[in-house]
Symmetry: C2
Subunit: 118 residues, 2 copies
DNA sequence: TTATCGCTTAAGTAATCACTTGACTGTTGG
DNA sequence: CCAACAGTCAAGTGATTACTTAAGCGATAA
């Protein structure tokens, strides 16, 4: 499967890269579900679904517990949030840069000669 | 490489699943860079870096143009934002559910009998 | 009790991934 | 001009991915 030692973000983004797994996450965001409930929308074997579920669990995005013969799955929103945070950090980094460029442009057009006056 | 026909989100999350590619995105959020500037922090062949760059480009996260012998790369923030939006949509879905549960709990403990009043 | 349900495990396969090396093509400073 | 530079292309390799089928196993409803 997926390297258990890999940094969390690797595993989270890898998990989200598959449409079936994203669909399962979407489903679980609306509430817990059993394995076969999760499998129901898909045109693949139960085994394949369970393997996707293992990827989701190993990324931490999903947790599950077995009661009787039924395994119930739930999302772990904090992990989804860690991915969100990484993206937001990139966006702010990029926006800061835009601001700097904007300021620089405004400065040089308002006062074409500013810092070097003796 | 990566399936060009795959839905954008697949390719975006797949691209972000690799630490080297995330590092390149981080670098590019602070400003444009040439291929060899991007390669400099890494202990891998230039060829490997270019291949990572191709994954990033095919996801739409990065654009590049060649001037003379230098290829200059920039991020495409809108694509990063599409990933952010997907995650935020999940979070709000999950939070709405929490709210419903909270309301239900408060309702049933405040007024054990509410909706059936004529 | 037993047949069915709800998974679980194992093994196999074709495709994709993340690299590598090496040979090559334009570009440009001296 | 021409050597070093910046990047490109092709092919090969071993690991991982996304499945499949098939067999098994512990609950549980009739």
């Amino acid at each position: 499967m997926l390297d258990q030692q890999a940094p969390p973000l690797d595993r989270v983004f890898q998990a989200l890269a598959d449409p079936a797994r994203r669909a399962m996450v979407e489903r679980l965001c609306r509430g817990p579900a059993s394995v076969s409930e999760l499998a129901q929308p898909f045109d693949m074997s139960l085994s394949a679904v369970v393997q996707h579920l293992q990827v989701l669990e190993s990324s931490g995005l999903v947790r599950s517990q077995k009661t009787g013969r039924v395994r119930t799955c739930t999302i772990e929103p904090t992990v989804l949030r860690s991915a969100e945070h990484w993206i937001i950090a990139r966006r702010t980094s990029w926006e800061r840069r835009l601001d700097r460029l904007g300021n620089l442009l405004a400065e040089t057009s308002d006062q074409p000669d500013h810092g070097s006056t003796p």
